[in-house]
């Protein structure tokens, strides 16, 4: 890490709590971490953690662990499960590095990975399907669409977080649904898993309208075994919700959500502008941060503490400079940490708690820590047949190179040409040079796709030198799908799952994850009435050809005069003759009139 951030210090406290097996302390913790971010945003990071002993988990005696989830995991033999629901985009340029170092977020949509205990790959996959189907029902998400084409087995990108004991043969399976829209129906089951269920404690702040209105939000569920050195194990469930709220947007009342201009008398004008007058104004950005309170931002107040957690726990923490004054409801006690920015609050037991920051000017700013790596992935090229992928990695550090694993799982209908993999590097001098890809890529794991069976899995171990930007490109071909394989909104394009980047940082035990945005791949889309047109057209052509040939074979060939004579004997010819006669009579009359 380049900047020893307070956030990671905060994480470190939690990490020590994890590692030290304090059995006597309550097995449930919850914490809310708030940090105002630039551009009037607010990061709210909720964390809920419950432990249960391995023995009572195996005997299905559930207390802090939700029964429904526990049974699913036992049924699918899943030893460790990570589930992510994410929407929006983390703006790393203005917000800095990600909460939890990105380890508690997923790619856009739903992401799920699990270590499954199974004797071989086939059984592991069968259990994985059981797991996705059951979780799909539990969380009201379309995880049942995670089939073999969307499942990969990453080799280097993920490591188990828990301590796995015993002779298990664990299989890691990973699935993504980049097109899944995360919404309130996923939050309700998420809240039901909590022992206090959103009735008390920090979970009372959850409101689906605010949560899914956030600029970026990520919900995660992690289940992992935690074992002490002596060998007694616990099963831990950790749920987090991270969101970045736009303070101004959240403060708007739900009845009147339309943004309105400030009244004239509240505008701060730039008087140095020559056109500044009574009726013209160039509004200035306010130097002071916006005023906000929990009630305004979340639409509710925090309702006491969850009694299952340690009653002395400081369950709400705020990261603002210490010089800022903050008002809280009575009964809450404030503890300021030595770092100069973090302060935590012990909450009153059963009274509602609110926290408000008035608008004020401060001189210190909370430092934003720079992310270790910038990553960006786009689809380039044009046309219906081919395209290209371009991935840009930027290393902001001036001193150290960044080593990381780049993991991509591509759908089978995007067929990459790995031989076209090219790398260009832009160094400090700003000169762009082509270099062989092998200079950057130290290791490759590539598993090609099989049509309609599995997707491409590409894992690259990369190293980006200090203060340089590396661009990787490769070409791909777009497959033509079968008629029934198109979704109802085929012209929207097909979602390509975000790439996962795991930064290898030897010093830090906890890996840093970065995910790119998901991509939209336009495929050649047919006109869907085509099959019927084809059927009718082909039938017509065949019928025409058949009719001609059949007639030639069957009909008798006679001269025209003979044919007329033959025809005149038939009923049809007589009828035609009558008709001709009637017509002629009319024509005659007309000529007479003339």
């Amino acid at each position: 890490m380049t900047v020893p951030s307070i956030l990671s210090l905060f994480l470190a406290i939690i990490v020590t709590l994890w590692i030290s097996p304090v059995v006597s302390s309550p097995d449930y913790h919850e914490q809310l971490f708030l940090e105002p971010l630039p551009k009037s945003s607010l990061l709210a990071s909720f964390n809920f953690r419950g432990n249960t002993s391995q023995q009572s988990f195996d005997n299905q005696h559930f207390r802090y662990f939700p029964r429904a989830l526990g049974q699913i995991l036992q049924h699918a033999h899943a030893k460790e499960v990570h589930l992510r629901f994410t929407t929006g985009r983390w703006d790393a340029d203005s917000w800095g590095s990600r909460p939890w170092n990105g380890s508690k977020e997923g790619g856009t949509g739903v992401e799920l990975w699990a270590w499954i205990d199974a004797p071989n790959d086939e059984e592991a996959f069968a259990k994985w399907i059981t797991l996705t189907q059951s979780l799909s029902g539990l969380f009201c998400a379309s995880m049942n669409f995670v089939d073999s084409t969307r499942t990969t087995r990453p080799v280097a990108s993920f490591e188990p977080m828990g301590n796995h004991m015993g002779p298990n043969s664990l299989h890691l399976l990973h699935g993504t649904l980049p097109g899944e829209v995360v919404c309130t129906e996923n939050l309700t089951p998420f809240l039901k898993l909590l022992p206090c269920k959103g009735k008390t404690g920090i979970s009372t702040l959850f409101d689906g309208h605010k949560l899914f209105d956030a600029a970026w939000q990520s919900m995660s569920v992690d289940v992992q075994p935690i074992c002490s050195a002596e060998g007694d194990c616990q099963v831990q469930i950790e749920q987090t919700v991270d969101m970045v709220l736009d303070i101004e947007r959240s403060k708007r009342s739900r009845d009147d959500p339309i943004p309105r201009p400030l009244p004239n008398d509240q505008l701060v004008c730039d008087t140095s502008k020559p056109y500044n007058s009574e009726d013209t104004c160039y509004p200035l950005e306010k130097a002071a941060d916006k005023a906000w309170s929990l009630n305004e931002v979340f639409g509710r107040t925090l309702n006491g503490i969850c009694p299952l957690a340690d009653s002395n726990e400081q369950s709400v923490c705020l990261r603002v400079p210490h010089e800022k004054s903050i008002f809280t409801t009575q009964g809450a006690s404030e503890i300021k940490h030595d770092d100069g920015f973090t302060r935590c609050f012990s909450l009153p037991h059963s009274e509602p708690f609110d926290l408000s920051i008035p608008e004020q000017e401060v001189h210190t700013q909370v430092p934003i820590d720079e992310p270790v790596l910038h990553a960006e992935r786009t689809i380039v090229g044009h046309g219906q047949e081919r395209g290209g992928m371009r991935i840009i990695f930027g290393n902001p550090s001036d001193t150290a190179a960044v080593d990381f694993i780049y993991f991509e799982s591509l759908p089978w209908f995007l067929r990459p040409y790995i031989h076209t993999l090219q790398a260009t590097i832009t160094g400090k001098d700003g000169v762009r040079r082509e270099i062989p890809a092998s200079d950057i890529v130290t290791d490759t794991y590539y598993r090609p796709a099989i049509d309609r069976e599995r997707g491409t899995q590409l894992e690259l171990a990369l190293s980006v030198p200090a203060a340089s930007t590396v661009t990787l490109t490769y070409d791909f071909e777009k497959a033509v799908l079968r008629y029934t394989e198109y979704p109802p909104d085929a012209n929207r394009g097909f979602n390509v799952a975000p790439a996962v980047i795991r930064v290898l940082d030897g010093a830090d035990a906890h890996p840093i994850y970065i995910r790119t945005t998901s991509l939209l791949l336009p495929l050649p889309t047919p006109d869907f009435s085509m099959p019927y047109n084809v059927i009718i057209l082909t039938s017509t052509v065949i019928a025409l050809a058949f009719g001609t040939i059949f007639n030639i074979l069957v009909r008798r060939v006679v001269s025209a005069e003979e044919a007329a004579l033959l025809n005149s004997q038939t009923f049809k010819a007589r009828l035609v003759g009558k008709l001709v006669a009637i017509r002629d009579r009319f024509v005659k009359k007309e000529t007479k009139v003339e």
Binding site: S539, L553, A564, L565, S568, Q569
Partner: protein, 565 residues
């Protein structure tokens, strides 16, 4: 005809010229060779259609329908093949009697029993045993006996020990609550004389036995024929309605619900071990059980449910009986069924908030009730703790305080599983349950077979895969095995094979691939292929008709000269 045309004075020169010249230019009659060729061409086309096109179409669009023994299946459903009988073997030990005396006693008792019995399918057979030691089989032994009975002969339903006891005026009986043994004590002077045709002791034993099995008899009668003999029909059908459908495995889910933060833990492991495990162990030959438990805090009532009302007279919060159905907040309480095959039985221990304690049912001050085919609820009102902030529930429930709740739960479990209420001995009730379940499964598998037969008959368009046929044959063979086991009095074996029959019957009935094809009507195929079949079919048909017409005409022409000759 030409005259007519001339009358109309057609102005067209061409028409005139043709009509005039037509008389000279009649086409030569077709050669027989040409007619033959045409006939062959048309015949060739039709041959291709009939011998190649039609079979290919038939082959590619036909659906596989495995052969099913429809008649046999329907016969099972109609009860024509098997008439289930339940011969119960009862051993009678008379250690203090002479052999001739005991034989006489047995004979007269059997007579009396047969006279009393109105329901032929269920009858008791008495058998003497010489084993005077009359070892009282303990419960484990009994369970093993049921388990092993698959290989053995008829099971011993009951052992009657007839013992003399001084100082008795009339005979009395004593049923052991945890074994299958009935002790009958009689005054020594009641030993039946060989001369008496109806000794009072025989009558007494017969009456006792009849009483023991009257509920079972009524239940089986109700299942087999829908009517009951001699027992309260209403209570039997209510009990059958309440009880769960038979399953191999039941999931028992015990949940502690409370509207506040406490109690947040309970000594559930010990409570289950102490209060439930013995019962579940006794059930092992009939069904398996899995147990899971959970604690759910902040479980509030549904907003639609009427809240409890404080009753001054009772000094308690009361729920009205008719509101109990809304007690469980299905939307918010996590009571989803357990994963895995088999139904889930939910047992809810509800600890009311201190402000609403004690909570009882208004009408009868009851604290528990059964939700038919779903589970049971128990309202636990623990002693409240008082401190400076007011009253609160204890944070932890000891297994001692869970005792009444789990006693109620075991009772509810027995009811939900369909165990009869009499007799008092649990092993006897479980035996009864075995027989009742075997009868139920036999009937339900038979009726599934009948439904499947009717379904395949009425929907000729659904495919019948080979797996269905094999499932059906497994079902039928297990059904007849069940029937013969029942006849031999081997009820545990009968239940085992009825279980197989039921599973296979359900599997064949709910075969997935049978359902899918139903919704693909023929009209769609016609709509897609009509553009092809129409334009091709019309010339083919017309040519065929012409050819047929021509042949008929020729035959007539041939006949006409022959007739004139």
């Amino acid at each position: 005809m030409t005259n007519k045309k001339g009358d109309q004075e057609s102005p067209k020169a061409l028409a005139n010229s043709t009509s005039q010249s037509a008389t000279q230019r009649v086409p030569p009659p077709e050669t027989s060779e040409a007619i033959h060729t045409r006939f062959r061409v048309i015949a060739a086309f039709w041959a291709v259609i009939i011998f190649l096109g039609f079979p290919i179409w038939w082959k590619t669009t036909s659906i596989y329908r495995a052969h099913l023994p429809i008649q046999e299946m329907v016969d099972w459903d109609d009860g024509k093949i098997c008439r289930p009988v339940f011969p119960l073997e009862i051993h009678v030990a008379t250690p203090q009697m002479q052999i001739s005396e005991s034989q006489h006693l047995l004979r007269t008792t059997q007579h009396t029993l047969d006279d009393l019995n109105e329901f032929a399918a269920h009858h008791l057979r008495l058998k003497p045993v010489n084993d005077t030691s009359a070892s009282t089989p303990d419960e484990e032994h009994n369970v093993d006996a049921i388990g092993n009975a698959v290989e053995e002969g008829a099971e011993i339903a009951l052992t009657v020990r007839v013992l003399s006891q001084e100082g008795l005026v009339s005979p009395r009986s004593e049923l052991h609550a945890d074994t299958t043994q009935l002790d009958v004590f009689y005054p020594p002077n009641h030993v039946p004389l060989p001369s008496s045709s109806n000794p009072p002791l025989s009558a007494f034993i017969a009456k006792e036995l009849q009483g023991l099995y009257s509920e079972e008899k009524a239940t089986i009668g109700h299942i087999l024929s829908g009517e009951t003999a001699g027992f309260d029909s209403e209570s039997i059908s209510r009990r059958l309605r309440r009880s769960m459908k038979y399953a191999d495995t039941y999931h028992l889910s015990f949940s502690l619900f409370t509207p506040g933060p406490a109690p947040s833990s309970w000594d559930i492991e010990n409570a289950v071990k102490e209060y439930l495990s013995p019962l579940l162990h006794a059930f092992a030959p009939i069904s398996n059980f899995t147990i899971d438990t959970q604690v759910q805090l902040y479980a509030t009532f549904s907003p639609m449910a009427p809240p409890p009302v404080y009753d001054e007279g009772e000094a308690a919060w009361t729920l009205r009986k008719e509101d109990l159905s809304a007690f469980i907040n299905a939307a918010e309480w996590p009571l989803n069924p357990s994963i895995g095959s088999g139904p889930t039985l939910n047992f809810i221990l509800y600890v009311p908030a201190p402000s609403q304690s004690p909570l009882v049912v208004k009408e009868n001050r009851a604290s528990s009730w059964i939700v038919p085919q779903w589970g049971g609820v128990y309202l636990l009102n623990p002693t409240l703790l008082t401190d400076q902030s007011g009253q609160s529930n204890p944070p932890y429930l000891t297994h001692e305080s869970l005792r009444p709740a789990f006693m109620t739960f075991s009772h509810q479990l027995l009811t939900l599983l369909g165990t009869p209420t009499t007799p008092a001995s649990l092993p006897l009730r479980l035996q009864t349950l075995t027989r009742v379940r075997a009868a139920t499964l036999l009937l339900s598998a038979s009726s599934t077979m009948g439904s499947l037969a009717r379904l395949t008959e009425s929907l000729p368009s659904i495919p019948i895969p080979a797996t269905v046929a094999s499932s059906v044959s497994t079902t039928l063979s297990h059904l007849s095995a069940t029937c013969s086991y029942l006849r031999d009095g081997r009820f545990a074996a009968a239940l085992a094979s009825a279980r197989v029959a039921e599973t296979e019957a359900e599997r064949s009935f709910f075969e997935k691939s049978m359902v899918g094809q139903v919704y693909f009507p023929d009209e769609h195929k016609v709509a897609v292929y009509l553009p092809l079949l129409g334009p091709i079919g019309v010339p083919l048909l017309v040519s065929l008709l012409k050819e047929v017409k021509r042949m008929i005409a020729r035959r007539k022409a041939n006949k006409a000269p022959a007739a004139s000759n």
